[in-house]
C-alpha cells in the first residue's frame, strides 16, 4: 500500500543522503586541493631557495646550501629530497637522502614549475617539483660567461598529507553516516507529527455514519494545507446530507401515499370476508381501481428513477407540435366533459411549429402539463397553450384557485399536492416532477409563474440561457 509518510521519509533521506555525499566529496576535494596547493607552495619555496642559492661561476654551476637546509629531510618524519642538474645532465648537487637513486628529471619554468606524484626512493609516496632556470652569475666576471641552465627537482614525503586527507575522508564518511542514522527517526517523527491532523481527520471521517451526516469537520484548527480539502469534504457532507434527507423524505412520503390505498384494499377485503353476502361486482371494480392507482404511482416512480439515473436513451426527430397537442388534449376534454366541467381552452400553436426532440418524452411532458391544466382549472375557467417561435418557448396557462406564490417552489417536488387530503384518486403528485426531469433530459427548461390574476403559467423553454 502506498504511504505518503514512507514515501516522504524515503525521498527526504535519499535527498539528504545525496546532499551529504556531494557536500562531503566537495569538502574533501577542496580541502585536498588547498592542502596540495599549500604543500606544493612549500616544495616551490624549497626549489626557489635552491634556485636562488645556485650560482654560475668560473668553475661552473655551484650550489651553496647551508648545512641545516635539508636537515629535517634526513631526520624528520617527512624526508625531503632534491637534485640539481645542469641541462647537459651533469649532477651538480643532490641530497644525501637520495643515496644512489636519482629523481626523475622533469621540469617546468620558474613561473610554471611542474608538479607530480612519485614513489620516493624510500618507497613512500611523495610529491615533486621540477623547474629549469638560469643560475645567476657569481660575480662580474661570471656574467661574461656563456649562460647555462640548470634543473632542480625537489621531492618530499607526502604520507602526513595523505594521512590528513584520509582522516578527513573518514570523518566526513562517519559524520554523513551518523547524520543519516539520526535523520531517519527525526524525519519519521516530524512526518508523523505533521500528519497527525490527517489521522485525526480520518478518525472523524470514520465516525460519520448515515445518521450523523450533519457533522462537519472543524477547519480552523487544521494546518493551512489541509483546509481546502477539508472545506471540500464539508461541502460533500452537506450535499450528502441534503441527498439523504431528500430520499428519507421521499420514502416517508411514499409510504404515506401508499397507506390510504392499502387501507382501502384491506377494509374492502375484510368487509367482503366478514359479510360475504354483500359482495358485488362494484367491489371488484373498486379493488381494480385501487390497484391501477397504485400501479400508476409505481410506474411513474420507476420512470422518474430511470430518468434521474440517465437510463433513458433519446431518439431525436422533428416533431410537429400542434398535432401532438391536439392528440393529447382530446381525451382530457372528454374526461372534463364526463365530470361536467366547462373549460375554455385555446390551442395557439401554429400548424407548422416544429421541434427537434424525443417524441415520447415530449409527449409525456405535454400530457402532464395539459392534464394538470384540465384538472386544476376551475369550473368555467380559461386556459391556453401557445408557442413562441422566436423564443422557442411552449407555454401552458390556466386559471387556478387556492394557489399562491408560496406554493410555486413545491410544485415540482415529488408527491407534493396542494390539497393535503389527497382526495383526487387519479393524481399522485408525480406528474410535474417527472415533467421537469424529462425536460432536463431533453435539454429544456421548465419554469412556473403565477400572475396576480391567478393564472398559472408553465413555460417549457427549448433554448437554454
Amino acid at each position: 500500500m502506498k504511504s505518503i509518510r514512507r514515501q516522504l521519509t524515503l525521498t527526504i533521506l535519499l535527498g539528504f543522503g545525496l546532499l551529504l555525499v556531494v557536500s562531503s566529496v566537495a569538502i574533501y576535494f577542496f580541502t585536498r586541493v588547498a592542502l596540495m596547493k599549500e604543500y606544493d607552495a612549500g616544495l616551490r619555496a624549497k626549489a626557489m631557495t635552491i634556485m636562488s642559492l645556485t650560482e654560475q661561476g668560473q668553475d661552473g654551476i655551484q650550489l651553496d646550501v647551508p648545512n641545516d637546509f635539508f636537515q629535517e629531510a634526513n631526520n624528520g618524519v617527512a624526508p625531503q629530497f632534491y637534485e640539481l642538474w645542469q641541462t647537459n645532465g651533469t649532477i651538480i648537487a643532490r641530497s644525501e637522502s637520495l643515496k644512489n637513486i636519482g629523481l626523475p628529471n622533469r621540469f617546468g619554468s620558474p613561473t610554471a614549475p611542474e608538479y607530480w606524484n612519485l614513489n620516493l626512493p624510500s618507497g613512500h609516496a611523495g610529491r615533486a617539483i621540477g623547474l629549469k632556470f638560469s643560475p645567476k652569475a657569481e660575480d662580474e666576471d661570471a656574467k661574461k660567461l656563456a649562460p647555462v641552465e640548470a634543473v632542480v627537482v625537489v621531492a618530499a614525503d607526502c604520507r602526513a598529507l595523505y594521512q590528513t586527507l584520509d582522516i578527513l575522508a573518514t570523518v566526513l564518511a562517519l559524520t554523513g553516516l551518523l547524520t543519516i542514522v539520526v535523520t531517519v527517526p527525526v524525519v519519521n517523527f516530524s512526518l508523523r507529527r505533521g500528519h497527525a491532523p490527517l489521522g485525526q481527520l480520518a478518525r472523524q471521517a470514520a465516525a460519520i455514519t448515515a445518521g450523523s451526516l450533519q457533522t462537519r469537520f472543524p477547519v480552523d484548527s487544521l494546518p493551512e494545507e489541509l483546509q481546502p480539502i477539508t472545506n471540500r469534504l464539508n461541502d460533500l457532507l452537506g450535499r450528502l446530507e441534503e441527498s439523504f434527507e431528500r430520499e428519507r423524505r421521499f420514502s416517508a412520503d411514499l409510504a404515506h401515499e401508499l397507506r390510504t390505498p392499502l387501507a382501502e384494499l384491506r377494509s374492502l377485503a375484510e368487509v367482503e370476508l366478514v359479510w360475504p353476502e354483500s359482495a358485488d361486482s362494484e367491489k371488484h371494480r373498486e379493488t381494480l381501481n385501487i390497484a391501477l392507482q397504485m400501479e400508476a404511482m409505481v410506474t411513474r416512480l420507476l420512470e422518474l428513477a430511470r430518468c434521474e439515473s440517465g437510463k433513458i436513451s433519446l431518439q431525436l426527430e422533428s416533431v410537429l407540435i400542434a398535432p401532438l397537442v391536439k392528440e393529447v388534449w382530446q381525451p382530457l376534454v372528454h374526461q372534463a366533459k364526463t365530470k361536467n366541467k366547462q373549460i375554455a381552452f385555446d390551442i395557439l400553436v401554429p400548424p407548422d411549429a416544429v421541434i427537434q426532440t424525443d417524441r415520447a418524452l415530449f409527449r409525456s411532458i405535454l400530457t402532464n402539463l395539459l392534464a394538470n391544466a384540465a384538472e386544476y382549472t376551475p369550473q368555467n375557467g380559461r386556459g391556453e397553450i401557445s408557442w413562441n417561435r422566436d423564443a422557442g418557448e411552449l407555454t401552458v396557462s390556466n386559471t387556478v384557485e387556492d394557489l399562491n406564490s408560496a406554493d410555486l417552489p413545491h410544485l415540482f417536488e415529488r408527491l407534493w399536492r396542494k390539497d393535503k387530503s389527497r382526495t383526487g384518486g387519479d393524481h399522485c403528485g408525480l406528474g410535474l416532477a417527472l415533467s421537469r426531469a424529462f425536460a432536463e433530459l431533453l435539454g429544456f427548461d421548465l419554469k412556473v409563474r403565477l400572475s396576480s390574476e391567478n393564472t398559472l403559467t408553465m413555460s417549457l423553454s427549448t433554448q437554454r440561457d
Binding site: A263, L265, S267, L268, E270, W275, S421
Partner: protein, 224 residues
C-alpha cells in the same frame, strides 16, 4: 350507538361505514372537514372517527374547534401519519384514540366500541342488571343463564339502554343513536323494536327489566 365517520376517501368511507352499520351502529358520513364539523355540531354522536388530512378543514382543526365548543364526544383519529409526533399532537389536541392506516377493521370496531362505552362512563366489557348479563365484546346477552337471540340492532338497543340504566331514554334518543338516516323510520319503529326486545328477553314469568315511562320514553332497571 351513533357514529360519525369523516373520511375523504370514498372507498374507505363506504367500506368502514358498511362495517359499522353491519355491526349495529347508526353511521353518518362526510367526505370533508366542513361537512364533518356541521354534522358533529348538529348531532349528538357516541363517537367520531376522524381522518386528519381532509379537504376544506383538516381533521386536527375540526377536533380543536369541537373541543373549544365544549363537545366531549369521543374522537378516534384515523390517519396515514404514523410518527410519534403526529400521534402525540393528535392526542394532545383532545383526541381519545389514534389509529394508523392501513388498519384492521376488527381493531377499528373494537376501539369504536370502547369509545362508545366511555361516553357512558362504563369501563367494563360486561354489564349486569339483575339476572341480565351483557357481554359487550362478544355482542352476546343472557337472561337467567339463557342466551338471547338478538339481531345486531336489537343488541345495540339493549346495550344503549343498559349503558344508561336507571335513566329515562327518549324515543328520539333511541332513533338518533340506533337508526341510520338512510332507513325509512316508521313512527312506531322504536316501539316495535322495544316490543321485540321485550319478547326475547322477558319470557313469561320473568320480571320485567324494560319499563315504559309514558310520554317520556323507556328505562332499563331492576324492579325494586
Amino acid at each position: 350507538m351513533r357514529v360519525l365517520l369523516v373520511e375523504d376517501s370514498q372507498r374507505l368511507q363506504k367500506s368502514v361505514g358498511k362495517a359499522l352499520r353491519k355491526s349495529g351502529y347508526a353511521v353518518d358520513t362526510s367526505g370533508d372537514g366542513e361537512g364533518g364539523l356541521w354534522l358533529a355540531e348538529s348531532n349528538d354522536y357516541d363517537a367520531i372517527i376522524l381522518d386528519i388530512m381532509l379537504p376544506k378543514i383538516d381533521g386536527l382543526a375540526l377536533l380543536r374547534r369541537l373541543r373549544r365548543q365544549g363537545k366531549r364526544t369521543p374522537i378516534l383519529l384515523l390517519t396515514a401519519k404514523d410518527t410519534v409526533e403526529d400521534r402525540v399532537s393528535g392526542l394532545q389536541m383532545g383526541a381519545d384514540d389514534y389509529l394508523v392506516k392501513p388498519f384492521a377493521l376488527e381493531e377499528l370496531l373494537a376501539r369504536v366500541q370502547v369509545l362508545c362505552r366511555h361516553r357512558y362512563d362504563s369501563k367494563s366489557n360486561h354489564l349486569v342488571i339483575a339476572d341480565l348479563k351483557i357481554d359487550l365484546t362478544a355482542h352476546a346477552a343472557m337472561r337467567t343463564g339463557q342466551p338471547l337471540d338478538l339481531t345486531a340492532r336489537e343488541f345495540r338497543l339493549l346495550e344503549y339502554l343498559a349503558l344508561r340504566r336507571g335513566h329515562i331514554v327518549t324515543r328520539s334518543e333511541i332513533e338518533t343513536h340506533i337508526y341510520n338516516d338512510s332507513m325509512d323510520l316508521l313512527s312506531n319503529a322504536v316501539d316495535s323494536a322495544i316490543c321485540s326486545l321485550r319478547k326475547k328477553m322477558e319470557p313469561p314469568g320473568s320480571s320485567p327489566l324494560i319499563h315504559t315511562k309514558r310520554g317520556l320514553g323507556y328505562t332499563l332497571k331492576e324492579q325494586p
